[in-house]
Assembly symmetry: C2
Homo-oligomer: 317 residues x 2
């Protein structure tokens, strides 16, 4: 079966064709050129552009039978609406699912991008075989997707999984929604950069913003730079506090961490694992694993295309 | 159908007979004298005593067909084991379900007491009709039970719902399990008493410990005492921070708050509702309700007896 996955990001919209081989293992067999999100002013011009890419991919791959779309924002899953997109203006209560379905004459699944990532990891990645798994995306913001007892748990208004808004400090910074101490106010990409800049300045070793991206700070930590190591330890502790809260609440089998910032690798995962385990009681750790995501930047395309494929397979799309 | 519910508490063990009327609405039709937990040294003498109470109730009510037991601690639900009980020594990895079933020759359901409370509220209380509901018990500790998509969500090792251990402050007090800032270190019964004593002393109005129980402090707040009002506001904000985190993560339809401390009523619930709603984005509040539990001290007996009745009804016990 072939399906198209569309990963709608704040920076670009990526499209790819996923094909399952004879064993059912999926492979991205083609991608369309990324569409720069900012160049399209609102849903209508963007939809026209997405349709062109879909048609391009369908010209090259006969037999595409469904489309999955993941968006960075709240989704009304039942009605196929986008409530609004983070960092992308103009998408208020937009019926993306039905509009795209009508344009392409294909069934369309619309979901939150973190749900798509979690689904990809659960079906064929680091969470394969779990009954319950929490997927975490560390990027500009912090997102999450919950697989509970073998399916995506969406909650009452299909908004579940907003890990980045969970508080780690009831006296903490105000978040975007009136919430105090929201996790992503501490460990989001831009916060890590700003914190790194401030700490290097304090240490008498000022660095430019572009030298303080999470990738750069991770590279510095890997070579033993104490400022960088300490920053990742602090980020790890803050993130671990939220993940521990999730584990106390949901007792999952796995927590799978992906997203751009997870590329930091051991300098993040080692203190993260240590801090998380130190905050949990023994029985919660039996059989538990904190794992790095298998899928990288392609997680969104893979996850959305898999959601579409499985919905068609189950007769739901 | 008649079932017996056993609510195993740190202070006493309560037993009652639950009968469903023609409409299926349950009623506690009889209770046995409470058993003081501390008078029994470990599982074996306690089991003998529980059996006596069960037999007493069965003598008075023919046709009891199952038993439910709720305990204040971690339970291995699949194997029917008690991992250990909070404040009750000697119960390490005890096979309570099978031992009690053998003694009474009745099917036994064993669960965490907060799960039983949540189940009672979901089946016939403040959460009736919800697909997803979070039950919170405010007492000596803070417990929780999750009803997700129409059934109790137990997690990988049947430990889910430990709301009291979730952190509200990553720099906060050390909890019993190495966790920082555990909610119950702020809002548990004893902490509220200690905080009230300290604040009355600071305000130049020292009060004895027995005048600082949550019930007394709630009564004082209801008559306009500013020290008491401020304390409940602070407790509400701390509790709301954890509940907001849960709502961001799970997007439930209802959060139902019970347990002894919830008797504080409006002096707790009004600031709690206000703080919770101020920490959530609009879509999460659509159709959402924070509700006081319907069942009081009988919640444990009702919930465990209902779990047993429903298991028998479904052919699972």
């Amino acid at each position: 079966m072939k399906t198209i996955g569309i990963d709608f990001g704040g920076t670009s919209v990526k499209l790819g064709v996923l094909r399952a081989d004879a064993m059912g293992v999926p492979e991205v067999v083609d991608v369309a050129p990324a569409i720069p999100t900012a160049e399209y002013d609102g849903p209508e011009p963007m939809l026209v552009r997405i349709r062109e890419s879909v048609e391009l991919l369908r010209d090259r791959h006969a037999g595409v039978c469904a489309i999955g779309v993941g968006v960075p924002g709240f989704v009304d899953w039942e009605r196929g609406l986008v409530y609004g997109l983070t960092n992308v203006p103009g998408w208020r209560l937009f019926p993306l699912r039905d509009r795209l379905a009508k344009m392409t004459r294909l069934p369309v699944c619309l979901d939150n991008d973190a749900n798509a990532m979690a689904y990809a990891e659960w079906r064929f990645g680091a969470g394969a075989g779990c009954r319950s798994m929490v997927g975490v995306t560390l990027g500009t913001g912090v997102g999450g997707g919950l697989i509970l007892d073998g399916s995506i748990f969406r909650g009452f208004n299909s908004l579940a999984g907003e890990i980045g808004q969970m508080s780690i400090d009831f006296r903490g910074k105000d978040g975007p929604y009136g919430n105090f101490g929201a996790l992503e106010r501490y460990v989001g990409h831009h916060r890590v950069t700003a914190r790194a800049q401030a700490r290097y300045a304090e240490a008498g070793r000022p660095r430019s913003q572009s030298d303080c991206t999470p990738d750069r700070v991770a590279a510095a930590a890997a070579t033993g730079d104490p400022v960088a190591i300490k920053l990742w330890q602090d980020v790890a502790r803050e993130l671990a506090t939220a993940l521990a809260a999730i584990v106390w609440l949901l007792n999952p089998e796995k927590v799978v961490v992906g997203g751009g910032m997870s590329r930091a690798g051991d300098v993040l995962f080692e203190p993260l694992r240590r801090s998380l385990e130190s905050q949990l009681d023994g029985p919660f750790l039996e059989g538990f694993e904190l794992a790095a995501a298998r899928f990288g930047p392609e997680a969104g395309v893979v996850g959305t295309a898999l959601l579409a494929a499985d919905a068609v397979g189950a007769g739901a799309a």
